[in-house]
């Protein structure tokens, strides 16, 4: 019996869970208060960061499967709300501990405390936690979480190292946000980071022992760019992605989007005379512009010889030879979920709304948070909870039935890559088409059910995957985890632009499950922030189908001429026509008059001239007449 088969064998899982709690479950209690402090992350620039109990960085956690985590999160800010999400945990039966604000909980108001209290029953592997409130984790509110299995890991290693990758901005998110969601950023160009960081520093030194197998748990905790990761002259054997153990796969380079995790084994050399470069590289295709002073590579040092010379950066011939995670196979070989019961097809588009700001859309809807957290709507709506309408018309809400096989077909009409993350589940990636490059004139290629790559027998499973530019992905999962689960692009900028949808899974079962009921603490958090913990998306508790007053997106930009435009055009045409009429009138009626004037100027009697020469008034009359006068 392998540890990693547990996810998909619920009965066995329950058995193990009870065994674990009885036998050796520990409870880890943390009291965390957010705040601001100054910290120099990359060695070049000190800036305000979000601290945990006054310290930075946030702690990296290590627990065992079956353990209970209790985080008392106190909002120590004075001007903003906060929240906390443990990324990748399935939170089965504890949906309200998942963390995204306005989805499973109310935002925590300044001064308020919320208890995140759950056991990690279904997951082991590499995870992380972060604020799920607008961009806060890009200001540093994040950390890694390693969950050890109850048994041994399905591979051998000597030592374990957690490697946290990210990008780093010198401006805080508030400043960047103002420029980002702005009429003067009409293309939605994401702010360009200043550096790539590793374990909250730059140019890290990692002292290694020779002939040793290291397990590197690599987590990209950034909010924007994907990174290439390689170590000079060292192969990496991938053994885990996003908490899913996979058949060993050796590669020289990884491509890690934000929120993805890779565990790799590295066996060190016997020779300690040389030190090697650990390389991170921006996926610069995601950057709107590449500033001249931006270092696309970041070098850290793998030191066999502590006192030896630090290595130069390592170059590679091609960055296209990275491991394609599509071809990984989960160790427990879950077969392809056949024939989905429900297929959700969504098209990704980036466009501007009437305020000129660039938004991201699923099927022409940009996610607009409801007035009541969706989980609380699901719990309070009774039978109406099965009607997606109660969750609002601007939230892309889909209601799923228990144990259905769900397929998400995601067509990316945008020209960028997007890493999509589903809360509460790992999913099978059954298809990912190649990217189509608009620079060479290729257009978007939506998924074609009649013509696609063959689906693998044992698809790779994880919780965050990227879709290629103008291309498509197809995901399948089993709706076996009642709850409200957020599905969104993990690029924090795009989440702000509304690239998200809601899956409301088996709401009636949630209503009837004791562990899913709101705690007093949850209700209190809502009350302290001035929100209701019941009602539909508009906050209506009487008629759940009445959405009057719900939050909706900014209006679309109208096509063609509006009333304003027609008025402007009419006036302009009128002005032009009137102007031409007055010009013509002046031009035609003035002629005679001015002739007379000139004749007078020349000292003659206009009447006399008229008599002499009426029929043949021509342009040089003045001169001819003058000469007549002389004669």
């Amino acid at each position: 019996m392998k540890v990693s088969t547990h996810h998909f064998l619920p009965s066995l899982l329950v058995a193990l869970w009870s065994w674990a709690t009885v036998a050796q479950a520990a409870t880890h209690t943390f009291n965390w208060t957010t705040g601001w402090g100054n910290y120099n992350v990359d060695g070049n620039f000190e800036r305000p960061v979000i601290t945990c109990n006054g310290e930075f960085p946030w702690p990296d956690l290590k627990v065992k499967r079956g353990d209970r985590i209790q985080v008392y999160l106190t909002n120590g800010f004075d001007d903003r709300n906060t929240s906390l999400h443990f990324h990748g945990l399935s939170q089965n039966g504890t949906n309200m501990m998942d963390g995204p604000e306005m989805i499973t909980q109310c935002p925590i108001a300044p001064g308020d405390t919320m208890l995140y209290n759950f056991t990690i029953d279904d997951n082991d592997g590499t995870y992380w936690y972060h604020s799920h409130t607008g961009g806060q984790y890009q200001d540093g509110m994040k950390g890694t979480l390693v969950v050890e299995p109850e048994d041994s890991l399905p591979f051998d290693y000597d030592e374990e190292v957690v490697v946290q990758l990210a990008e780093w901005y010198y401006d805080n998110v508030d400043t960047l946000d103002r420029k980002f969601m702005n009429v003067y950023n009409p293309t939605g160009a994401e702010p360009i980071p200043q550096n790539l960081i590793i374990n909250n520093t730059r140019n890290m030194t990692w002292n290694v022992e020779p002939d040793t197998t290291y397990l590197l748990r690599i987590v990209n905790t950034g909010g924007f760019v994907s990174q290439y990761f390689w170590i000079e002259d060292h192969d990496m054997t991938v053994v885990e992605v996003d908490g899913v153990y996979v058949e060993k796969n050796t590669t020289s380079m990884l491509y890690i989007t934000v929120a993805q995790r890779y565990s790799v084994l590295i066996h060190t050399k016997n020779d300690t005379s040389k030190n090697y470069a650990i390389m991170q590289k921006f996926d610069d295709t995601m950057l709107d512009v590449i500033p001249n002073d931006l270092m696309l590579n970041a070098t850290s040092y793998m030191m066999y010889d502590k006192d030896g010379e630090k290595p130069e950066q390592s170059y590679v011939d091609s960055i296209d030879d990275f491991l394609d995670d599509f071809y990984l196979t989960p160790l427990d070989k879950v077969e392809l979920y056949e024939d989905p019961d429900y297929t959700i097809t969504v098209d990704v588009v980036m466009d501007n709304l009437k305020n000129g700001v660039n938004y991201a859309f699923f099927n022409n809807l940009t996610f607009t948070a409801p007035k009541v957290p969706t989980l609380m709507t699901a719990l309070s709506a009774g039978k109406d909870a099965l009607n997606p309408l109660v969750y609002g018309t601007n939230t892309n809400a889909f209601v799923l039935k228990k144990d259905e096989i769900i397929e998400i077909v995601l067509n990316n009409n945008d020209t960028g890559k997007h890493p999509f993350h589903l809360h509460g589940h790992i999913f099978q990636l059954v298809d990912r088409e190649r990217g189509y490059d608009d620079a060479i004139g290729e257009g978007p290629h939506p998924f074609d059910p009649e013509d696609h790559n063959p689906f693998p027998d044992y698809p790779m499973m994880r919780d965050t995957v990227y879709v290629n530019p103008q291309s498509s992905i197809v995901l399948r999962f089993k709706a076996d985890n009642p709850g409200v689960w957020f599905f969104h692009c993990h690029i924090e900028w795009h989440l702000k632009q509304g690239l998200a949808l809601l899956l409301i899974e088996a709401p009636e079962e949630m209503q009837n499950t004791e562990s899913q009921q709101l705690t007093d603490n949850h209700k209190q958090v809502c009350e302290n922030v001035g929100l209701s913990w019941e009602g539909n998306a508009a906050g209506n508790t009487n008629d759940f189908l009445d959405l009057v007053g719900q939050n909706v997106q900014v209006a679309n930009i109208p096509d063609g001429f509006t009333a304003k435009g027609i008025v402007a055009m009419t006036f302009s045409c009128l002005a032009g026509v009137l102007g031409l009429i007055s010009l013509s009138t002046y031009g035609l009626m003035g002629v005679k008059k001015s002739e007379e004037e000139i004749i007078r100027d020349l000292g003659m009697d206009p009447d006399a001239v008229e008599k002499v020469d009426v029929s043949d008034i021509n342009s040089d009359e003045d001169s001819s007449r003058t000469s007549k006068n002389i004669e």
Binding site: F561, L583, D620
Partner: protein, 386 residues
């Protein structure tokens, strides 16, 4: 863009307008010569007539050389000169061009007034006689001897340079315009100007000529109003592009390619800078597929101001002064009226009569210079011939 590659409408009209004025001057000059000298001394008349034509041709050649160099240089160094501020410069040139067309355009409707003005000016110039005739090699002596060359030379040069400045400006105001867009409108403008000038000299049906001029002026002012609106539009676009860091220009026609907060209308097509055909509407009428509040207001205000000015001119022509101000005329509102101290040069009807009488008494002295016959110049006003 196809149209702008070979024909720039604004260039055509400006060349036409300037050529017409030069033709008027030359025709006035020629008719003076014919009247005063042609009747007395045929040989001198022919010689002086030759001077006039040499002056015209010389002035024209110099203009073409300068103009060609100007435009060539602009297209060679275009990017270096304007760089990222291109929209700003386009706006500035649009406004300058508008002012130039607006000020000079209306005179086309009063081609007879234009003729009269030049008659007075030329008459004054011809009567200018150097006080001291002993300095044979002085500049002034030389200028007098070849006045029939210098007058048309300077005139053509002046009108020509005006056209050159404008043509260069008009080119800059048309985005992506090519140097190839100049020769054709310039040549056709010249031909049209010369034809109309010839018609003026030999005489043709006044009314049909006037209708032709009215239509030309209307087109000219349509262009001017469009240019004015475009100028303001470019300012808005410059501001937007500056704030967006040039992002918008990547977006083509679609959402985000313009500042929606200042937009009155926008259509995702018909972009004069990207779509074929619409650039003609742009250069003729100032069409933009994005209507900014500022550009629309500018367009309407331009016509409003023009109509007010025309109204004032019509009133002044009827009543001899501006409404409510008995002693005020339109030209007195122009700053140049005071700068050039024109009030000193204003002629009364009697003075003008005297002036023309003198011109008709022009003769040629023993050295072949144009002189005023002494016997008839008793009443010459010294101030006047200055």
């Amino acid at each position: 863009m196809a149209a702008n590659k070979v024909f720039n409408v604004a260039v055509f009209f400006v060349v036409f307008r300037e050529c017409l004025e030069a033709a008027v001057i030359v025709s006035v000059l020629l008719s003076f010569l014919k009247q005063s000298i042609g009747s007395n001394d045929m040989a001198t008349y022919k010689r002086l007539r030759m001077h006039v034509w040499i002056g015209v041709v010389a002035g024209f050649i110099i203009c073409m050389a300068i103009g060609g160099g100007f435009i060539g240089a602009y297209y060679r160094y275009e990017n270096d000169i304007f760089g990222s501020a291109e929209d700003l410069w386009e706006g500035v040139f649009c406004i300058i061009a508008t002012l130039m067309i607006s000020v000079m355009g209306i005179a086309m409707l009063r081609v007879n007034k234009m003729q009269a003005k030049w008659r007075v000016k030329i008459a004054k110039a011809m009567l200018e006689v150097p006080k001291d005739r002993r300095k044979k090699w002085s500049l002034k002596y030389w200028a007098t001897r070849y006045s029939m060359f210098l007058l048309p030379f300077i005139t053509v040069l002046r009108e020509g340079l005006e056209a050159v400045v404008f043509v260069a400006g008009a080119g800059i105001t048309t985005k992506d315009s090519k140097a190839t867009a100049y020769p054709l409108p310039v040549v056709i403008g010249l031909i049209a100007g010369i034809i109309v000038g010839t018609l003026l000299y030999y005489g043709t049906s006044k009314s049909s000529l006037q209708i032709f001029l009215v239509i030309s002026t209307c087109v000219l002012y349509l262009i001017a109003s469009g240019l004015f609106s475009r100028g303001v539009w470019y300012f808005d676009n410059y501001y937007f592009n500056k704030k967006t860091g040039g992002d918008a220009s990547e977006s083509g026609d679609g959402n985000g390619s313009y500042n929606i907060l200042r937009t009155v209308y926008h259509v995702n097509c018909c972009n004069p800078e990207l779509d074929n055909g619409w650039d003609i509407f742009n250069s003729l009428l100032g069409w933009q597929n994005t209507g900014y509040l500022s550009s629309i207001l500018a367009y309407n205000l331009y016509w409003l101001v023009l109509m007010i000015v025309i109204g004032l001119m019509m009133y002044e022509e009827r009543n001899g002064h501006l409404p409510f101000c008995k002693n005020l005329k339109l030209r007195q509102l122009k700053p140049s009226y005071y700068l050039k101290r024109k009030q000193n040069e204003e002629l009364t009807a009697a003075e003008q009569e005297e002036l023309f009488k003198q011109v008709n008494n022009l003769g040629v002295d023993e050295e072949g210079n144009v002189v005023v016959n002494k016997g008839d110049t008793t009443k010459v006003n010294v101030e006047l011939v200055k």
